[in-house]
């Protein structure tokens, strides 16, 4: 941990980081565009220049060098002394900010980036309000560069982050710089659109409004958005994300910095496939079959009804006839509540991991890299918590079986009561499974969409989308990551955690943290999950 002096204040920096990174981590706001910790350094925006003390060429005496140095390109060295708060440095920042705006259309009122734009922020903080250019602006074109992205090159500041992302992280290299000097533009090659599984990230790393997300375009002004720290449920990689919503509508997902898991990135599947959250066909109310009649009881009746029906069944058929299928879409806390509740009624009940959706192979980026060099992996397990549920079943011990065996045992009449949790956005359940499971005398289906299984169930409980719940997922690497609720459940529904909490006989409000405290008695791993979310190591 080298100590360096920035503007007279000693700070401790991490080894081998550039001065800029050290300064940002120490809380200073140093303007920069081209620097991104996840990409190679090009030192071309020249906005982060600083003064540095160097030995005099002749006398070897330490003194402030007359020239400025790019702080993004200068690694920290023990005892080095730099400064940003000088006239020279500030004059350069002002010059640069004037230059960035020379040919900028200043169309903030119609720009999606407005409100989270570093051209706005830096201009306000470091630039000047007026342009001295008298001539006409150069107007670069707006381009449709790919299925999910637009490029308004008139707003571009030529930081080339997107180009480097396509080359270094996605490994597909669709983007390039064309033309030279003031006429330079970002572009794609003719006939080769920006079309890779990570392309949404170029919109995130664009410090201005040049790269735009077609999906989010003109949907919301960003200052209306409320962000919820969440974990992507799309696959078992477990990317940390932020759910941006307004008035209970999710508008976009953005990656959060999460070192070692997703770093700064997320894939397009995770980013764009959240639309099912607002599907009108979702199950919104609990449903109960009384004889031939279907009834929608009040939530307050549910705990007693569930308990009564299970107790009746266990009394009749014995505890070993009960099986609980825990979905890998469930949070650890929800799975624990359900599993321990059933076990409290029937200690011999079988707990098992539900259907794990697998699609193809793991996808690694940069495309074509060796497994060890992967900067980002999209897991082929399209569920967030297979590992967590597995660990939980193992911890709780007792009877368990494979999912395939469960279906067979239902068909054979070995299991006569089953609680099946789904919650998958697509592709569930199979006809064969339904045929076997519907033989159960008592079937509880907890799911997000109506399907054959819910049609057969005695009790149907609506499962909520992950943005409406809170808890924690354990990713493929075994990391337990908490996620918070971003929006309220759809009208009529309740959070899975809440009703399971009540069914299990608890009172008051469910919260992931509260349940984790209960779990931590037996399972120490859950004790320190709720540590403060990682501070982003990078401002933008």
């Amino acid at each position: 941990m080298p100590k360096i002096i920035i503007d007279g204040t000693e700070i401790e920096a991490r080894d081998g980081v550039p001065v800029l990174q050290a300064a940002l981590e120490s809380g200073l706001d140093i303007p920069h565009y081209c620097y991104h910790p996840g990409l190679s350094i090009v030192a071309s925006c020249r906005l982060c220049l600083m003064e540095m003390k160097l030995p005099h060429p002749q006398t070897k005496e330490m003194g402030w060098a007359p020239k400025l140095f790019p702080s993004c390109q200068t690694p920290v060295r023990e005892g080095m002394e730099v400064r940003f708060g000088t006239e020279k440095v500030e004059a350069n920042q002002k010059t640069c900010m004037e230059y960035f705006l020379l040919n900028h259309p200043l169309d903030c009122p119609v720009c999606d980036q407005a409100g989270e734009c570093h051209l706005q922020d830096y201009s306000y903080k470091f630039g000047s309000a007026e342009s001295r250019m008298y001539e006409q602006k150069q107007v670069n074109p707006k381009k449709d560069i790919g299925p999910k992205t637009l490029l308004y090159s008139d707003r571009c500041v030529m930081c080339t982050r997107c180009v480097r992302f396509a080359n270094e992280v996605a490994g597909t290299g669709e983007l390039c710089v064309t033309n030279r000097g003031g006429r330079a533009e970002i572009d794609v090659f003719p006939g080769v659109p920006l079309d890779n599984g990570m392309q949404g990230n170029v919109v995130d790393i664009c410090p201005v409004g040049a790269l735009l997300d077609k999906d989010f375009m003109f949907k919301q002004r960003v200052w209306f958005l409320k962000g919820g720290d969440s974990i992507c449920p799309g696959c078992s990689t477990g990317c940390a994300i932020r759910v941006d919503s307004n008035e209970n509508v999710v508008h976009r997902l953005k990656p959060r910095f999460n070192p070692g898991v997703n770093d700064w990135w997320m894939c397009d599947a995770g980013r764009f496939d959240f639309k099912y959250v607002h599907d009108v066909k979702r199950i919104a109310k609990p449903r109960l079959r009384r004889g031939q009649e279907s009834d929608t009881p009040d939530w307050s009746e549910i705990p007693d009804i569930v308990r009564y029906r299970f107790e009746q069944h266990i009394a009749r058929r014995g505890g070993a006839s009960v099986a609980v299928v825990l979905s890998p879409m469930m949070a650890n806390e929800e799975a624990w509540l359900l599993a321990t509740y059933i076990r409290s009624l029937a200690p011999e009940a079988t707990l098992l991991l539900g259907h794990v959706p697998i699609e193809g192979e793991d996808e690694r980026y940069p495309v074509g890299c060796n497994d060890d060099d992967a900067k980002f992996t999209i897991n082929n397990e399209k569920c967030p918590n297979r590992r967590g549920v597995e660990m939980l079943i193992e911890q709780l011990g007792g009877s368990t079986c494979a999912f395939e065996v469960f279906a067979k045992k239902c068909a054979d009449g070995e299991f006569t009561a089953a609680w099946v949790v789904g919650g998958y956005p697509k592709g569930w359940p199979t006809k064969d499974l339904t045929k076997s499971v519907k033989k159960c005398e008592l079937l509880v289906a907890q799911d997000i969409f109506e399907n054959e299984l819910t049609g057969e169930a005695e009790i149907v409980l609506p499962a909520c989308a992950w943005v409406e719940r809170d808890g924690s997922f354990t990713n493929a690497g075994g990391k337990i990551q908490p996620f918070e609720r971003a929006i309220d459940p759809i009208q009529g529904a309740r959070r899975d955690g809440q009703y399971l909490f009540e069914i299990a006989g608890n009172e008051g409000l469910y919260s992931g943290e509260r349940v984790r405290e209960m779990m931590a008695d037996k399972m120490a791993a859950y004790a320190n999950v709720a540590e403060a979310p990682l501070k982003p190591a990078h401002q933008h």
Partner: protein
């Protein structure tokens, strides 16, 4: 300079000198044969002792540059910079056309000194003729065993390739050149690492100018002391000068670096004086990038040091563009700024935006729609770029700053007068259109 004995252009007028046979008959490849019997270090020492400074513009001692290569390197690459793109400069082209084998012999010697196994001659695409001439010379040399495996049975191997650039000024910058050979956009690299450590294809690389390498055979043939006897201590050896513009004898000339700018333009041995007797107004003595001299500053010596005393960046390519009294400095300003706005590579903000803004302002002034305050703005904008104050990766914007700031500072009165006398109705109309 009647008593000056030409060195680089000594074969001028020798018939068919482009052929290997004639070049050899005139003493060619003797230095190479001699050098191959010695060690690379001896060649480096001799070149260092001769104080051969780079002819490409910066004037960095070539021998010292070679010693920056790491001692334990496995592979070395040499690039010969024949991208000559400084506006009025044509001495490399002249030399390659006049004496291709001299350039090639120098290339082989420089490669031997640095122990390079591969040399690339980076030539701009516009050099069609020099390309074919050099390629023929290379083919002849391969056939005669002067290139390829085991050169002159010395055990030293070398391959020389000509790589043709796509015609960008910035590819004359050494790291821009390296990127371009690698097939990338000619964007100068950030340093460190320097090319001597990690250059072309990640290997230790030396980049030398055509004229620099052409001097090496002569140094080895006649010794460092002879070389130092030409010119001054810090600017020794023969130098090619170019003169262009409204002079009687525009062309490429050779001379010692003791001559003054006035001699270069006015003397019969060089430029031959102003055409039609029109008085001289200004000279850009080192290619346009180094800055401008007024007519009363012509005593400046054409060496590596004196230009600094006249507010110039350096000797540059020693190619003088002469401007006569009939030219309007507003037009000169526009022309100069257009060049940099066209050639800025677009990486660094200050250069990319600055050069195009300067060109916009300069064109407006030249169109007759200038404002007095534009002159200060030109000075400020051109002062805000360059590698020396740390605003950019390469030296291109320094080359834009010096001529533009030079014109603004040295010809301010003329620019102001031009702006004051511009027809006001037209100026207002133009300003209205623009705004």
């Amino acid at each position: 300079m009647a008593d000056y004995e030409p060195v680089l252009l000594k074969h001028e007028g020798v018939e068919n000198i482009r052929s290997l046979e004639v070049y050899r008959a005139n003493g060619g490849y003797q230095s190479l044969a001699k050098a191959l019997k010695t060690t690379p270090d001896e060649v480096i020492d001799e070149v260092k002792r001769a104080n051969l400074r780079g002819r490409g513009g910066a004037g960095f001692p070539a021998g010292v540059k070679w010693t920056f290569l790491p001692k334990d390197r496995k592979r070395t690459l040499l690039c010969v910079n024949a991208d000559e793109s400084e506006p009025p400069t044509f001495s490399n082209r002249y030399l390659m056309e006049a004496d291709p084998h001299m350039v090639l012999e120098g290339t082989i010697l420089a490669s031997f000194a640095t122990q390079a196994q591969t040399a690339y001659v980076y030539m701009r695409i516009e050099f069609h003729e020099p390309f074919h001439i050099m390629q023929r010379a290379i083919d002849e040399a391969y056939a005669a065993g002067l290139l390829g495996k085991n050169i002159l049975k010395s055990g030293y191997d070398l391959d020389v390739y000509i790589h043709r650039g796509a015609g960008a000024y910035v590819c004359g910058e050494e790291t821009g050149l390296i990127e371009s050979i690698e097939g990338k956009r000619g964007w100068p690299r950030i340093k460190p690492p320097f090319p001597a450590v990690e250059g072309l294809f990640g290997q230790p690389t030396v980049v030398n100018n055509v004229e620099t390498v052409a001097n090496i055979p002569h140094i080895l043939e006649r010794g460092a002391d002879w070389f130092k006897s030409i010119g001054t201590d810090s600017s020794s050896g023969p130098k090619l000068f170019c003169v262009c513009g409204p002079v009687n004898k525009p062309g490429c000339y050779e001379g010692p670096m003791t001559i003054s700018c006035e001699e270069l333009v006015m003397s019969d041995a060089y430029g031959g004086g102003m055409r039609r007797g029109v008085p001289l107004k200004a000279v850009f003595p080192g290619g346009i990038s180094m800055g401008v001299l007024k007519s009363d500053e012509l005593q400046m010596k054409m060496d590596f040091d004196d230009p600094r005393n006249f507010g110039l960046l350096g000797l540059g390519t020693a190619a003088a563009v002469v401007v006569n009294a009939e030219s309007d400095m507003r037009d000169v300003l526009r022309n100069v700024s257009r060049f940099y706005s066209h050639e800025s590579c677009g990486q660094c903000t200050q250069c990319r935006e600055g050069t195009s803004w300067l060109y916009k302002i300069a064109s407006r002034i030249a169109m007759g729609a200038g404002r007095i305050e534009d002159i200060d703005l030109l000075e400020e904008v051109s002062g805000n770029m360059g590698m020396m104050p740390g605003f950019s990766i390469c030296g291109l914007p320094d080359g834009a700053t010096f001529p533009i700031r030079g014109i603004v500072q040295k010809f301010r009165a003329e620019l102001e007068e031009g702006i004051r006398n511009q027809p006001s109705g037209r100026a207002d109309a133009l300003l209205n259109v623009l705004n």
